[in-house]
């Protein structure tokens, strides 16, 4: 095991079967993500970026190979154990925010806390802090349709961090935002990484977004390609 590694992927393969055709997304992928990293995974459509993120988040299973999180395999956990693992360790940020339209911003942020044993008072305190961090405390009582795209994404980030997970997995977090809102969102992620030590894995096709990360990894035809090699 690599010292200080949060994630270790070894010989990771993902294949789909479509009819009689087997499609390989990637095969024998090896990778390590240390604690406190902020990686931008880039690549063309269909290169397997989102699939990789799904495997890291335990919402998809590899065809072969291992995904280790703090040294323990998560690729072979049952659905029930994976649910608990996700609740304790991973925060998700999606391109389309995935907020519950009928709940207020605060209620959306509260969702991960409902899986903990925290009291109502403690939950309210955490919600307020999370909304404060992403700078949207004044919109706590608003429903998603009353918020702009950028504000909704901030609520989604607050939801992702409120239970204090070890890793944030962001799938095209700025894909649906204008440049200004995108920059605000990325600065927030950068702040969460630099000030709070959150490990962040971000999938993006936007080179400007990738620049906010500590490092970039390019996935192409199922393999990581060095940035220099692309030039």
């Amino acid at each position: 095991m690599t010292a200080n590694a949060l994630y270790e992927l070894s010989n990771l393969s993902k294949r789909y079967t479509r009819g009689r055709e087997e499609i390989t997304i990637f095969s024998d992928l090896d990778m390590a993500i240390p604690h406190g990293d902020f990686i931008a995974i880039m690549g063309p459509s269909g290169s397997g970026k989102t699939t990789l993120l799904n495997l890291l988040g335990g919402i998809d299973a590899p065809s072969s190979g291992e995904v280790r999180f703090e040294g323990a395999r998560i690729d072979n956990l049952s659905q029930a154990k994976l649910s608990k693992w996700r609740a304790a360790n991973a925060g998700f940020i999606f391109q389309f925010y995935n907020l519950m339209p009928t709940l207020t911003a605060a209620q959306n942020v509260e969702l991960p806390l409902l899986l903990t044993k925290l009291s109502g008072k403690e939950r309210r305190k955490r919600i307020a802090t999370a909304l404060e961090i992403v700078g949207i405390a004044d919109r706590a009582g608003h429903r998603p349709r009353q918020l702009s795209g950028g504000q909704q994404q901030r609520v989604a980030i607050a939801r992702a961090i409120v239970a204090d997970p070890k890793v944030l997995l962001a799938d095209e977090p700025t894909g649906d935002l204008d440049r200004a809102s995108a920059d605000e969102t990325l600065k927030t992620l950068q702040l969460l990484n630099s000030e709070m030590g959150k490990t962040i894995v971000m999938v993006t096709h936007d080179p400007a977004a990738a620049k906010y990360a500590k490092r970039e990894l390019h996935l192409d035809k199922g393999r990581f390609v060095e940035k220099e090699a692309l030039a």
């Binding site: 608990k84 998700f92 995935n98 519950m100 009928t102 709940l103 899986l115």
Partner: protein, 392 residues
């Protein structure tokens, strides 16, 4: 788990206004199922309550053994004589037993309101028949003369059928009769009958010397056992005896069973239809929220909480439908009066009775619809692929 389920249920319920048409259709279809079931149960309960409340305990009805109704029974004059010798029968001041041998034929009458023909019972009775109906009074005219083609008409017949005005001749089949009087028994089934002298009916309808029933005034309600024991032991007789109250109850039994046999299957058939509606609604509910459910699962919510949340939504919609159906049926039907033909073509007026027990049965049926309607969609909710989280 409780907090998870509560949160998922709250999300589900808050999303109902996004599907107002389908949700309302489900609630209304379930309300309709409950309404139909309660309507039939109310009819059965009301009919049973009315008929079981009719008839005296100290009047007995004797018919040929095994007869379900007067129309199926056949007794001879000799049988009447033997029956009248039984102990337990009340006697008049002269020591004569109070009995009435009667026969019963069906004639055609014309309903005044609808101008449609309907069966009318013509009962040939003995001179003591009035003593065997509590509350009997002649309200107009006089009693028929023995041996004459004269009719005594029940009050309901006068009110509902045309051509029975006092003093007027009326043709029934091939015979012409004269209405000489109107009687009332205070609203019992006899008020829907025509009465005449038994030998006249025997003669005009070629019934020879036969009767169909013998009514007895008992010395006391308990005396029926003594009378029954005697009649059972008499080798020349093959008869059944029962109190008038038991007689009416047995007459009602078939009708009650019939109503219930129609009511429950109809309600269950409709429930299957409502089930499809509930199923469809819940599927739509799950379909509309696939990404939400997948997101909750990605956040760490269990599949079981998604299952329970969907089930609770389905059950609450069904419960709402059940309560609406029960309350509306109670408001519309409880106490409503109606009439139906009894098993011997006697018309029986009764009131619908929407009982608490029937209302509970209706709500339970609604919940069963909700449970079955929500089950498969809830299982689908629990199995929503996590990858749906990326759905655009």
């Amino acid at each position: 788990m409780f907090k998870q389920t509560l949160a998922v249920t709250a999300i589900n319920l808050k999303s109902i206004p996004q599907r107002p048409g389908m949700s309302a259709a489900t609630v209304l279809s379930i309300a309709l199922v409950v309404g139909v079931l309660l309507g039939f149960l109310a009819m059965a309960n009301g009919f049973r309550a009315t008929v079981q409340g009719t008839g005296a305990d100290d009047i007995a009805v004797v018919m040929r053994a095994g007869s379900q109704a007067e129309l199926n029974s056949n007794l001879m004059r000799e049988d009447e004589r033997l029956i009248a010798e039984a102990p337990g029968i009340a006697r008049d001041a002269d020591g004569e037993p109070i009995v009435s041998a009667e026969l019963y034929v069906v004639t055609d009458g014309m309903r005044s309101a609808s101008q449609t023909p309907a069966n009318l019972p013509l009962r040939g009775v003995g001179p003591r028949a009035p003593e065997l109906r509590d509350g009997f009074t002649i309200t107009q005219g006089r009693m028929f003369e023995p041996g004459a083609a004269e009719l005594l008409v029940g009050e309901n017949v006068l009110a509902e059928y045309e051509g029975f005005a006092l003093g007027e001749p009326i043709r029934l089949g091939s015979n012409t009769w004269t209405v000489v009087g109107v009687f009332s028994t205070g609203g019992t089934v006899f008020d829907s009958e025509l009465w005449t002298d038994a030998p006249v009916v025997q003669s005009l309808y070629q019934r020879g010397n036969s009767f169909q029933s013998v009514r007895l005034r008992l010395a006391s309600p308990e005396a029926i056992e003594e009378t029954r024991a005697y009649l059972d032991a008499e080798p020349r007789l093959n008869v059944d005896v029962q109190s008038e109250r038991a007689f009416f109850a047995s007459q009602a039994g078939g009708t009650v069973t019939l109503i219930e046999y129609v009511g429950w299957p109809l309600a269950i058939l409709m429930a299957i239809g409502a089930l499809a509606g509930a199923w469809n609604t819940m599927y739509s509910s799950v379909d509309a929220r696939v990404r939400e459910i997948a997101t909750l699962r990605a956040l760490g919510f269990s599949g079981f909480s998604a299952f329970l949340g969907t089930m609770v939504e389905s059950l609450l919609l069904a419960l709402l439908g059940g309560i609406i159906g029960a309350v509306v049926t109670w408001l519309l039907f409880d106490g409503l009066t109606a009439s139906t033909l009894g098993s011997s073509f006697t018309q029986i007026v009764f009131a619908f009775a929407v009982t608490p027990g029937a209302m509970i049965a209706g709500v339970i049926l609604a919940l069963i619809v909700g449970l079955l309607g929500g089950l498969i969609p809830a299982m689908r909710a629990a199995r929503v692929p996590l990858l749906s989280v990326h759905g655009g």
